[in-house]
Assembly symmetry: C2
Homo-oligomer: 194 residues x 2
DNA sequence: CCGATATTTCAGAAAATTCTGAAATATCGG
DNA sequence: CCGATATTTCAGAATTTTCTGAAATATCGG
């Protein structure tokens, strides 16, 4: 591995971290390297810096392209492929969330919808279905929220995130201003546990 | 595998999905099974229903306990351990987010802070550090938002999620009501790409 | 079309992980 | 303390994933 120490630390960390996500070490390392590189790199550059085989890099880049996490570009008078990550880190976040949703949430939602159509054949199945419906509704709520904020431009998104739960305060203020007092809001028996 | 068809579908799906998260098939299956079960199950129950070895179940349950995703309880006059998931699905979400943060974000933040302390020894390292700072600040913003909303009770959290980006509208309204017009907000050169 | 260069494919080697059965350990009631 | 039952540990088998080198394929300029 042929990298400045500071970069190497980062790349190694991402390689290890990769396995906690669904990606392998090399893919994690390639991504980390591209992320911190000023210039786009070609496959051979990556081979030199990471010290892995050319074919491994080829496969890794393909996977990153399938994830839309990496951009392919060309330099004039050079027919090799050059790769880079978007400069805008928020674009990266958006892609990451989008792709994870596509791979993890969407298939599960499809399955849940199918299973929820079926007729339960026992009390056990009936209870299982109820639980699956809870999960389905939860995912629906979360993906709905996501679909919604995902449309915001970055500035507004950051604004919203910075606000955090203080939004709550503003909502309460809005309620006090515009809602007929005592129009029912509180007291919704939510038997939490733990 | 000895399960009602509807449950089996769900359990198998979670088993496969497991590998996209950091957990193995058996752990995914055990969790799915516990999630849809009305009653708490003991290890032997799980062995019977999933058809995997007793030792595999033992290790799987240990891992789920390490993730805080599973509760250990006892039945009177029975000294076996019984396991279940929380009834409240929001409690599950909170635990999941908390644990993933602990395992994935926190170590990365620690590393980023360390690396950002160092003196860059070249232009390349300087640029890499800048990128790492962007990532650091992004994580800071996201975890700050999380720490904030995580404190909300479930009812308010659902309220907020249901609102989605409509919060934005309310914020604008607030601005119009309370802020001196033209006090600067717009025009923040954000050179997006893509 | 040719030769040079770039990239991909893929079979099998290497490595990592998952899973099992057997043994060890722990805990209970009596 | 003993026997019965429950759980954990762990070495190695089975499986899966990752990685490599060699060959195949693709694409370019001329």
């Amino acid at each position: 591995m042929n990298l400045p120490p500071l970069v190497q630390t980062f790349v190694l960390h991402f390689g290890e971290m990769g396995s906690r996500w669904g990606i392998n070490r090399t893919v994690g390392q390639i991504y980390a390297l591209l992320f911190v590189s000023k210039e786009a790199l070609n496959a051979e550059d990556i081979v030199d810096r990471l010290g892995v085989s050319r074919s491994n890099v080829s496969m890794g880049l393909k996977e990153l392209q399938a994830w839309n996490l990496v951009r392919l570009q060309h330099k004039p008078g050079d027919r090799r492929d050059y790769f880079s990550t978007p400069d805008d880190i928020w674009q990266i976040v958006r892609t990451l969330v989008e792709e994870r949703k596509k791979r993890e949430i969407d298939p599960t939602m499809t399955l849940l919808r199918e299973v929820l159509m079926q007729e339960p054949a026992s009390a056990e199945e009936r209870h299982a279905q109820e639980r699956m419906r809870e999960m389905h509704d939860l995912f629906e709520l979360l993906t709905g929220w996501y679909a919604d904020v995902q449309r915001l431009d970055t500035e507004r998104l950051v604004q919203l995130l910075t606000l955090g739960s203080k939004v709550q305060k503003i909502l309460e203020m809005k309620d006090r201003l515009f809602v007929v007092p005592g129009s029912r809001k509180s007291r919704r028996a939510d038997a939490e546990d733990k």
